[in-house]
């Protein structure tokens, strides 16, 4: 039995359906990310787990106990907010001890636990400071310690890194993940940032318009998107319309250029039009190492993106991009050159009928 279960969860505000038949089982110690664009229902789902919203339908169980209608203060669920939500009138230590005092723990136990939490977030020198005396990153670490102090059953993180600058965001997400792993706590992380979700999660739930589009490991979500939305939303994508040539051999044609795909072609027949997708980094120039697909192309443009160089190419009449790592000895083609690019059969994804 799963540690945290959301079964047929729906939420309506008036006539607007925000979450629709959401089902998810989470194991103890798992780190799950809800990923999706604004308004997809990810935060509402998280708030239902926290108890700030009551589902219109469905049940939520934590550790076998139905908490669907429990008040937020009766769930023992830790929550971290985008806006930190530290109590401005309390010091770091007082913020961390807040939940312990509510629980009426013994004074000695509170002191010990606060010390432990402060050490966990490496803010020993800041215990007596007020929130306004700390940086954004430090405040969010205090919020993390405060949420963890009560040893919650589940840790909920509502876009906790969105208000921070890029460098702090990267280091803090690694810190959050490391602490979560060390404590073995079950966590749900809401984000609209795909890189964040891919880098931190055991599994990702991709949501769109209140529905679950796909649940899978970051590897599955990125490499084997099940829907067009997931393919588009997670990572960059080359899309094209292809004609089925041979379903047995997985052959497709894009503007007369033949591609071989490992994707299943159940229900398709010769002559059908399908939408295909290839990630830019799955292409490489054929001068390197040839794979199953080797196709002619023309170089249209080259863009430097720091660690990556993006080459815009034309295959037939369709535009594609090729991402290649930037290294000093990289020999790039020139704009207008005729080249060959190669990709594996697995790289050619079929998204559905055109």
């Amino acid at each position: 039995m799963a540690y945290l279960s959301l079964t047929h969860i729906s939420k309506q505000f008036g006539d607007t359906v925000v979450v629709q038949d959401f089902n998810l089982d989470i194991e103890k110690g798992e780190f799950i990310s809800f990923l999706g664009p604004s308004g997809c229902g990810k935060t509402t789902t998280l708030r239902m787990v926290a108890g700030f919203e009551i589902p219109t339908a469905g049940t939520i169980t934590i550790n076998g106990v139905d908490v669907t209608n429990n008040a937020p203060n009766q769930r023992n669920v830790g929550m971290i907010f985008q806006a930190y939500a530290l109590f401005p009138n309390m010091t770091v230590a007082q913020n961390i001890s807040f939940g312990l005092r509510i629980r009426k723990d013994a004074e000695a136990a509170i002191k010990e636990r606060v010390q432990e939490m402060i050490s966990l977030i490496n803010l020993e020198k800041h215990a007596d400071k007020y929130p306004y005396q700390l940086s954004g990153g430090q405040q969010q670490r205090v919020a993390l310690a405060r949420a963890l102090a009560n040893s919650p059953q589940v840790l909920l993180l509502d876009e906790p890194l969105s208000a921070l600058d890029a460098k702090i965001r990267v280091s803090l997400r690694a810190e959050i993940r490391s602490i979560q792993k060390r404590l073995g706590i079950t966590a749900i992380f809401v984000t609209h940032d795909q890189e964040e979700a891919l880098s931190i999660s055991d599994r990702i739930v991709v949501m769109y318009e209140g529905k679950v589009e796909q649940v899978g490991t970051p590897f599955q979500i990125y490499n084997f998107p099940k829907t067009e939305f997931v393919a588009n939303f997670v990572g960059s994508l080359n899309r094209a319309v292809a004609e089925v040539i041979d379903t047995a051999q997985g052959l497709l044609s894009v503007d007369g250029v033949q591609f071989s795909s490992a994707a299943k072609m159940d229900g398709l027949k010769k002559g059908d039009k399908v939408r295909i997708a290839i990630r830019p980094e799955r292409f490489s120039f054929a001068s390197e190492q040839k794979k199953a697909n080797v196709v002619d192309c023309q170089i249209e443009n080259i863009t430097f993106l720091g660690s990556v160089v993006r080459v815009h190419i034309l295959i037939g009449k369709t535009k594609f991009t090729v991402d290649t790592f930037n290294y000093p000895s990289l020999e790039l083609p020139k704009i207008g050159d005729k080249e060959q690019v190669t990709c594996s059969r697995e790289a050619v994804l079929i998204l559905g009928p055109a």
């Binding site: 700030f52 023992n76 669920v77 830790g78 939500a85 401005p88 509510i102 949420a147 009560n150």
Partner: protein, 277 residues
């Protein structure tokens, strides 16, 4: 150089307006003080103050007004803090309606409110839509009169108290703080007492001070209700004496300034802490 000359002209103009503002407030106060010191011919002393404070009616009316003010402050806070909190938390759409209601106290003249209170509560109170009498006129007893006048003062203080508290609520993210406290196991009482109120300390004190100033300085309703309040006493004193009312007016100013100073001292650091997050 142009930038510096620009800055200089800005600071000159700000200095001018600042000085004008200071003079506007200080000059009448200084004139009152100066006048209050000249009770005895060719002498400059505090005799007017001694005489004013020695009058037993001063202490009686002043104490009465202070008690009214204290009770009004408590009732206003009990009414406004939960209302403003709930509006911020759950009923943001009701904010405009409440703001409109609170401004009525400014729009309706105090004399209208005073006569309104007398005409409504001066008569026996019946069960609505019946002739069954619930109570005799509330104004027939001292307690009833005090109750009615405090209710009147609460309405008078409502616009300032509501705005003070609401401004305080705006500086803290009420909703997120409430949810954070809830997720840590706090109930409503704990949230209000330990999270919301401490962060509203500055606004509560400024609302209380404004209410205090309104109640102690209010003449119209207290005269209509014929209660022994400080302002009607001051007004009455002014009818047949010149220097003592001036002395008491100046003393009232000093008292209010002292209160403001205390508020600054008490709330200074914490108010900043609450505001900057």
């Amino acid at each position: 150089m142009k930038i510096f000359s620009g800055l200089r002209s800005i600071s000159l103009w700000s200095g001018f307006w600042y000085l004008l503002g200071v003079l506007y407030f200080i000059l009448p106060l200084y004139a009152t003080f100066d006048f209050s010191m000249r009770l005895e011919r060719d002498k400059y002393n505090f005799v007017a103050y001694q005489k004013a404070f020695a009058d037993p009616n001063f202490l009686k009316t002043f104490a009465y007004s202070n008690i009214l003010a204290a009770v009004t402050i408590v009732i206003s806070l009990l009414l406004v803090v939960p209302t403003s909190y709930w509006i911020r938390l759950r009923l943001p759409e009701a904010r405009r309606i409440v703001e409109y209601i609170t401004t009525l106290a400014i729009v309706i003249p105090a004399i209208v409110m005073g006569f309104g209170l007398v005409s409504v509560y001066g008569a026996p109170i019946n069960l609505p839509f019946t002739s069954i009498q619930l109570t005799d006129s509330l104004l027939n007893t001292r307690l009833g009169t005090n109750f009615i006048i405090i209710m009147g003062y609460t309405v008078l203080a409502l616009p300032l108290m509501y705005r003070s508290i609401d401004t305080g609520m705006r500086t803290i993210d009420v909703r997120t703080l409430t949810e954070a406290a809830q997720s840590l196991g706090a109930n409503w009482t704990t949230i209000i007492v330990r999270v919301i109120l401490p962060n509203l300390r500055a606004s509560i004190l400024s609302g209380a001070l404004l209410t205090f100033a309104i109640v102690v300085g209010e003449v119209t309703i207290s005269s209509i209700m014929n209660v022994p309040a400080f302002s009607p006493y001051l007004w009455l004193l002014g009818q047949h004496k010149a220097y003592e009312p001036a002395a008491l007016s100046f003393a009232s100013f000093l008292m209010i300034w002292a209160s403001m100073g205390i508020i600054q001292i008490v709330t200074g650091g914490r108010a900043q802490a609450a505001g900057a997050h």
